[in-house]
Symmetry: C2
Subunit: 435 residues, 2 copies
Amino acid sequence: MKQVGVALLGLGTVGSGVARLLTEQAERLKRRCGIEFRIKHVVVREPDKPRPVTLPPETKIVTDIRAVAEDPEVEIAVELWGGIEPARQAVLTLLRHGKHIVTANKALLAEHGPELFDTAQEVERSIAFEASVAGGIPIVGALAHGLSANRVQFVRGVLNGTSNYILTAMSDSQHTYAEALADAQARGYAEADPTLDVDGTDAAQKLAILVQLAFGQRISGHQVFRQGITGIQQADLRYAAELGYNIKLLAVARLHEDGLEARVTPCLVRKRTPLAEVRGVYNAIQIQGDAVGDMFFYGLGAGQMPTASAVVADMIDTALGRAQITFRMLRMWASNDKGLRLLAPEETRTRFYFRFNVQDRPGVLAQIARVLGEHAVSIASVIQHEPPPDSQAGDTVPLVLMTHRARTADALSSLEEIDRLPIVSPPSVLLRVED
Amino acid sequence: MKQVGVALLGLGTVGSGVARLLTEQAERLKRRCGIEFRIKHVVVREPDKPRPVTLPPETKIVTDIRAVAEDPEVEIAVELWGGIEPARQAVLTLLRHGKHIVTANKALLAEHGPELFDTAQEVERSIAFEASVAGGIPIVGALAHGLSANRVQFVRGVLNGTSNYILTAMSDSQHTYAEALADAQARGYAEADPTLDVDGTDAAQKLAILVQLAFGQRISGHQVFRQGITGIQQADLRYAAELGYNIKLLAVARLHEDGLEARVTPCLVRKRTPLAEVRGVYNAIQIQGDAVGDMFFYGLGAGQMPTASAVVADMIDTALGRAQITFRMLRMWASNDKGLRLLAPEETRTRFYFRFNVQDRPGVLAQIARVLGEHAVSIASVIQHEPPPDSQAGDTVPLVLMTHRARTADALSSLEEIDRLPIVSPPSVLLRVED
């Protein structure tokens, strides 16, 4: 039996979940893994605030990480504060004091990963971060261990539960975006300020971490092209459904001959495929490797206990010495790989969905088709319904087009030119199709 | 850079795939993991048979494992012969000569796991076996690392690609079982003698391995209750579809208050749920853990490169020392856990689907319902269609019933009693429903 001293930075939702697993499941962890975790310190801002968890008598509730840094009995520090500062400073200090780190902080890793990883390498300590991406889904482990013999061709997925809940609610209940957001907030699935979830920032940070694991490439969340879901309208969900697609906010990292594509965008995804059917707050990740073929992982991407489960798995891995081996391997890969060029969004090729509001008169489709043709964007299918019987002369009608694969730059410049046609009432809608 | 000497036992489909990954991807493995694998020996029965892979000049093709056992440069032996003997003897000998083992041999582990694991423990060597279950899906790693903080409530899945291909083909193309089997054989998805795939033995062996990982429980494939798919008829697929279900051969291990249920049976699975939608030769596994909630993994469960991918991942883990840590932990759990009682099939409770051939006259449903009621089996839904217009007096018509949860013993004794009623023409069909 090995006793391992740990400190928790943060005792909010996930922190309380971790403390609960460590205390309530102590016997199970001893029996299975031969480890007795002892929570030596909990570092919080407000030490007197009542907490929904009973800590062991030996645990000291402190406000300063120095207590942790200077306690030789603490081997592992678990950073659950979230955000950049003071988490970044705390992790650097604790590494330099010889502590291994377990963290669920995707923002910190996506923006300051290289600095933290280099420091850890220097002082021969590890950083484990399974909980930073997709909660309880063991995707970090799958990429770092199970798929290490593969050249990954793409990783893509639903990485933000809030956005996926909103899109599912819009699709199921004909809610507007605002109504679906209010519903998500009422259920605790969206924060009062949902910006980072709905604008793609959160998913982009997680994608940056997956890119490091799948392609050995250091990119930051800021380098990932982002388009959020706030502009998604009922009309687009309906036309997508008519064409056989759902709309999902997808994070996509794909290897091309000329570089790496990394983006978070709403996409049309064909119904009855695994990604299209991910509902509510679930997360899912699809990976294609050259040896293993297609793989798909699905589970709760957030929430107290799924995230705590991933944190405790990392603590076990660190206590047993496995996380250190994994961390050294990931570091080596990142240092040895000749960098891939990150493609600008305009350079990538994909299929597109366009929705235009056009005047209902002869020659409209011909004009739009001509512009697309001149930009080498080829039309795959068209929907234009008859105008409703009570429509007035001069009313616009929606015209929906799906294209074959085209360069994004060409799709964007066609859109710009089409929006200038007198027969079109902007704004038009442009969405990607992910096959 | 670490040089690691390895030996491959077997150079068939998977063995050639492993040799290809090790030789063609040597640079990638060096760069990412810092390991240079050197194939010192390949042990085959027919050394002169032409092989679809180019081996390095240093590789010796031998017929006797003594060459491997006595070569001090071999650290890892990769057993890909399959079957029980001579694989069992070879693994025991190689362990005693200090070699770590990587194997894809589910039959060997399911039937002789305890003996091999105890021997490995004694000589302080490891056995890694990711490839033995579900090919490239990293389910062994997920259970051994990612979910180690969870109490698993159930593991269930589609673990046999051959059966799943046959059931998918029967469902899509109205093929009979025999036609679908012939189709699978023509495509190389089923062997000339498909018995072990279609009677549930293969899936039961994989389930026995998953039970060890998920519940710390040593059971053998023989202890898993099995019902195969050879009796599945078009009529049952059609009625299942009408009720909103697909039929899948599921391997199920579930924790109950009074013990562990472990079985491989064809089951009705509600359409549009992840397991119901697993098509063709794909495998899938669903896990429920007390902390992590529901998780789902999906991918190619067999085939040369997916399986080779899992084998090489285990070789990397062993070369880095991670597999040894995992193996010690799994061993500890198996030794420390107080055994769970394995429930007899009759003791378990589930929902059932019955199909009877009954005479088309008054009182038939009443008689059958009375027998079910007397055995405490409660009816949830009934399908009885009008007989076709050209039916003759005395023809039987199908009567399909779905029940609420009932004890299997009660369902079986009702079936026996109903089959003795003069209005019923046996054999009747009984299938489980997995919600």
